[in-house]
């Protein structure tokens, strides 16, 4: 059995809209923040793993090194839709776990622009499929997953909307979130309908952003000092195995359940041991189904679970205390590492006003449409 792997430094920039900056500039800023957090320099890094979606053919990882120091180390540019950052983190983790390296850097960066994600699906004939063959837009796909939950368990639009109330509230405590605005239930429910039951305030915010982590072997972590180190207890990545409707309605549930099961098994823990969760609330409907997918509550209980307040800061298992993708923002390639930053910050006891008291174990979850699901379990040292 190989040795433990640690996060020694981790940070993110405040998410926002930076149309006049470059993607490598955004990534470089987070890389330097994470290196500073670890008290290390780029010369100490033995490899770089970069997560990005929109510019992935442009050697973003190498361009980051051109901005902060060209040491000639191997660079791997990873793309896995919304799981790209988590995939880069996992590749970095695996490289250290394998014994190949002692210190590596994982960076996620994205420059998004505004508007709906997806495409109208016009073929050679120039006829858009959107509207003709249903919708392939993200708000509708995740709305259909929510309506599937409604069908099975009677979940109501109010249940989904409460997720947005909670996450927007949480973001008022996070200075690095895109927005810090309270959104009462009537505001969420009354906002412009995008794809029923998801209103505009139940859709994640398209922002630009970056985050980075320095990952170390146990040997190196001991050598450098474990004071603020966070242990990576488990890393799991899945794709979509065959399920009945996956090819028609992307099955976001099964790949999440698979990843969660693998991660809990690897960590030797269960969902009841987790103190906080950053999960993929790309839409309010998604957070509800992931409560059950991650085992935070029983089957069909997600509506009652949000009603109970269990996932609010101060509740049984706070979820998305960062504000989540709904309010912190969702720069695709950066999201997975920003989640690691959030959980690590709580485990370090450095989360300030939104600190989850006594946090010892935290879980991160991202889901890339296609599908790629990554779950990581982090532990206070």
């Amino acid at each position: 059995m190989s040795e433990d792997v640690y996060v020694l430094g981790v940070d993110m920039i405040k998410f926002g809209r930076f149309p006049h900056r470059t993607i490598d500039g955004l990534g470089a800023e987070a890389a330097l923040l994470a290196l500073d957090d670890a008290g290390l320099g780029i010369k100490d890094m033995q490899a770089l793993y970069l997560g990005n979606v929109g510019h992935v053919t442009q050697f973003v990882g190498q361009k980051i090194l051109q901005q902060i120091g060209q040491t000639g180390i191997p660079v791997v540019n990873c793309t896995n839709a919304c799981a790209s950052g988590a995939t880069a983190f996992r590749e970095a983790y695996l490289a250290v776990k394998s014994g190949e390296y002692d210190l590596v850097l994982a960076v996620g960066a994205e420059q998004m622009g505004k508007g709906l994600l997806g495409n109208a699906g016009g073929g050679d004939d120039g006829i858009p499929r959107e509207g003709l063959l249903g919708s392939r837009l993200m708000p509708a796909l995740f709305a259909e997953v929510g309506m599937e939950h409604s069908r099975k368990y009677g979940t109501k639009p109010e249940h989904f909307a409460k997720v947005s109330v909670k996450n927007h509230h949480h973001s008022t405590l996070n200075p690095k979130a895109m927005y810090q605005i309270e959104t009462p239930l009537e505001d969420v429910m009354g906002a412009e309908m995008i794809a029923y039951p998801n209103t505009k305030l139940m859709c994640s915010v398209n922002v630009d952003g970056s985050a980075a982590a320095v990952i170390a072997s146990a040997k190196k972590a001991r050598e450098l000092g474990m004071g603020r180190a966070v242990r990576v207890r488990a890393s799991a990545l899945t794709s979509d195995r065959f399920t009945q409707r996956d090819l028609t309605l992307p099955d976001f549930n099964t790949c999440t359940r698979d990843a969660a099961r693998i991660a809990y098994e690897k960590a030797g823990i269960g969902p009841q041991d987790i103190n906080l969760v950053e999960l993929h609330d790309c839409f309010a409907t998604a957070e509800i189904v992931h409560y059950e997918n991650l085992g935070l509550c029983g089957e069909g209980e997600a509506g009652a679970f949000i009603d109970s307040g269990a996932t609010w800061l101060g509740g049984k298992v706070p979820v998305n205390v960062s504000g989540g993708l709904l309010s912190k923002g969702h720069p695709l390639g950066a999201t997975g590492i920003a989640n690691i930053y959030e959980v690590a910050t709580h485990l370090r006891g450095e989360a300030g006003a939104r600190q989850v008291e006594g946090a010892r174990l935290g879980l991160t979850h991202v889901l890339g449409l296609g599908q790629a699901c990554a779950v990581h379990v982090l532990e206070k040292v």
Binding site: A120, I127, G134, S135, P139, E144, M147, I194, P197, L249
Partner: protein, 142 residues
């Protein structure tokens, strides 16, 4: 549009076919081993990995609305609202499409409702001036 008088017009998906009588239908590809049905071609069965040649089968024209969303915001030029639907075809596969001939609101669209597959001409024409045909879902009558 009569279901019988089509001289094989252009279609919006490759699995929309026309019978010898000119009537449109949807064609699935059925795994020779496990029986799973797909609407797109593949090298082997996604479910059981069988590489036996797939068998072309006519998809049923009735089914049940498994889940849906009512889309109010889409790309410029796309008419909204519309109902994005995932339908389980009776005894076959599930199929994505647009549910029409119903008020696009949650009072009228319900999961579990019975639907039928219909074929309609679109406003789009190809270079030869021929009108495209696509499939839609409508609430089942009766």
């Amino acid at each position: 549009m009569s279901d019988t008088a089509l001289a094989n017009p252009p279609t919006i998906v490759p699995f929309l076919k026309f019978g010898a009588d000119g009537a449109p239908y949807l064609e699935g590809q059925q795994c020779a081993d496990c029986g799973e049905i797909y609407t797109t071609e593949r090298m082997a069965c996604s479910k059981c990995f069988s590489r036996k040649p797939f068998k072309a089968v006519r998809l049923p024209t009735t089914g049940e609305l498994y889940t849906f969303s009512i889309v109010h915001r889409s790309y410029p030029g796309i008419k909204v609202p519309f109902v994005s639907a995932t339908v389980d075809l009776d005894g076959a596969c599930s199929l994505k499409g647009t549910l029409i001939d119903v008020e696009p609101d949650p009072e009228h669209v319900k999961t579990g409702m019975k639907v039928e597959v219909v074929f309609r001409e679109l406003e789009h024409k190809n270079k030869e001036g021929r009108t495209y045909v696509s499939y839609f879902f409508v609430p089942k009558k009766g």
